[in-house]
């Protein structure tokens, strides 16, 4: 048991420390790499909770896809890092104010949290059917039965966002040669080449 506790503190400390380094490091590429470390450690925390499906999905989606795009964009930036740090003190009060307001909001929400006594009994008495399932199956069962409409709605929102992003960034460029694979496949040797009999010394 003590190993699990030690592991929890290790991952928790690493998560908080790397999250702090995301905002503290001077180089934006380092920031993204620390962000990835933070994702990793939170995935490890999920594993300690026994939520292996969420842990793996966190790594696949956030580390494997989202953070790659972040890194992609940040690496392409051409910025002067020392210039970026000037004016840090000017903005500090505003940043500190925003941070303080967010902290108060979180404290209010978490402090006002109150569990229904009935809900507690439901949690502590798992149904025999559910306790035999892996948590992938449990999530699937909930998502596709009880919350299926909300799930579909979330999918629709993502679809609209995706179409919107494509419409906004897509532009027709005239005069660009495009490869039409179907035409190439349908081409026969007879259309494309001619066999000539060339006499010696005559040329084509």
């Amino acid at each position: 048991m003590i190993v699990a506790t030690l592991a929890f503190y290790l991952f928790a400390i690493l998560t908080v420390a790397s999250a702090f380094m995301v905002i503290a490091s001077k180089n934006p590429v380092h920031s993204v790499l620390f962000l990835i470390l933070a994702f990793f450690n939170s995935a490890a925390l999920f594993l300690l909770l026994g939520a292996e499906f969420i842990a793996m999905i966190l790594v696949v989606v956030y580390v494997g896809a989202v953070a790659v795009l972040f890194l992609f964009v940040v690496m392409m930036l051409d910025i002067n890092f020392s210039e970026l740090r000037q004016g840090f003190l000017n903005y500090l009060p505003i940043g500190a104010l925003v941070g303080f307001i967010l902290l108060v909001e979180i404290l209010l929400v978490v402090g006002g949290w109150h569990l229904d006594p009935d809900a507690l009994t439901v949690v502590t008495a798992p149904t025999s059917e559910l306790s035999n399932m892996t948590n992938t199956e449990q999530i699937g069962n909930l998502l596709y039965t009880k919350y299926v409409y909300l799930f579909q709605a979330a999918g629709m929102v993502l679809l609209v966002a995706m179409i919107g992003a494509i419409v906004l960034t897509h532009r027709q460029r005239p005069g660009v040669k495009k490869q039409v694979i179907a035409d190439q496949v349908y081409r026969r040797p007879e259309e494309a080449m001619a066999v000539r009999k060339v006499e010696p010394g005559q040329g084509v």
Partner: protein, 341 residues
């Protein structure tokens, strides 16, 4: 003290021994994969391949390894030293830790976790970091271009790999790799394996893993005619060797995954004597070696894709087909009431 030994130290020692029992044969297999590749390519090009060091060139990989080990490590002055050295280590370690969930035989697996296939998918999607970090940390043009190409390529083909995996999972009903193999066992032997009912997915998966491991004909990240050696350009000595080891280890890993998903893992093709006398781990090795042969065959045969063709194939061909096939498979399973419990 005795309790401490029994509950902590002994399991740790056993796990370490198991890890060594996997890693050491894998490293030897990887060393001989390089020889296998050079021999097969030599045969295809009517050459002999390496045949001087040891019998039939059997010691060539170790000679190469020793040569790389004694080379000088060169770090470019403009490079970010820490990340420059971290990148090959990431590539190598990711290629090794993925083997923790691979079942070599029934029960021969280090960690038989419920979400084995997701774990493998997560590890293989992390492989891009070794490349992109090395390209950026080298602070040089060619490595950076190679890294950008590679990042885009690996992210693109991961999508279709994901859909292919979903198709297989629909038929199995479990994310556990051993369960996936067991679902393919039956009286019909080879006819039960998933490469027959899911043949189009098998082809798409194979082509996608070629792209995922940056192999020919999709080796644009390191195309020597345009980018010198892509992201590896600035690396020398053991740093280069780690990239090289990681890349070959990833090839073996992806072939093992393909074997588990489509070719029945450790199962013999026909479940009668003398086929079922051969241990499962040998069958597993034979199948992986056959897939690796196709990897090399492709390399010796096909010209390199152009970058826009690569992107077109990934996004406009494989993604719609694999998405469509997920719907077809799911519809078929529901219509004929064959959904696994």
């Amino acid at each position: 003290m005795v309790e401490f030994w029994n509950s902590y130290l002994l399991p740790t020692v056993i796990i370490l021994a198991q890890i060594l029992a996997i890693v050491v044969p894998m490293l030897i297999a990887m060393a001989y994969l390089t020889l296998y590749e050079r021999k097969v390519m030599g045969a295809m090009q009517l050459r002999k391949g390496p045949n001087v060091v040891g019998l039939f060139g059997m010691l060539q990989p170790f000679a190469d390894g020793a040569k790389l080990f004694f080379k000088e490590t060169i770090i470019p002055t403009g490079a970010n030293k820490f990340l420059f050295l971290l990148a090959p280590m990431i590539t190598f370690f990711l290629a090794l830790i993925a083997w923790a969930v691979i079942p070599f035989d029934d029960g021969w697996v280090l960690a038989d976790i419920n979400v084995g296939i997701l774990y493998l998918f997560a590890i293989s999607s992390l492989g891009v970091y070794g490349i992109i970090i090395s390209g950026w940390a080298s602070n040089s043009r060619y490595p950076f271009l190679g890294a950008l190409r590679s990042a885009a390529q690996m992210v693109s083909y991961e999508v279709s790999i994901g859909f292919v995996i979903i198709t297989v999972l629909l038929c199995v009903g479990s994310l556990n790799l051993s369960e996936i193999v067991r679902a393919q066992s039956g009286d019909l032997g080879i006819l039960n394996w998933y490469f027959i009912p899911l043949f189009p997915m098998f082809i798409i998966f194979f082509v996608s893993i070629l792209a995922e491991t940056n192999r020919h004909p999709f080796d644009l990240p390191e195309s020597e005619a345009e980018l010198v050696a892509g992201y590896q350009t600035e690396y020398s000595s053991m740093a280069f060797a780690l990239f090289f080891l990681g890349e070959y280890m990833n090839m073996i890993l992806m072939c093992a995954l393909c074997t588990i998903l489509f070719l029945g893992g450790w199962l013999p093709p026909v479940d009668i004597a003398p086929f079922n006398w051969i241990p499962g781990v040998i069958w597993f090795g034979i199948k992986v070696a056959a897939l690796l042969f196709v990897f090399i065959w492709v390399r010796a045969t096909l010209p390199r894709y152009r970058y826009d063709q690569l992107m077109r194939l990934g996004w406009k061909v494989f993604l719609p087909i694999s998405l469509f096939w997920v719907v077809v498979t799911a519809g078929f399973l529901v219509a004929f009431d064959m959904v696994p419990a």
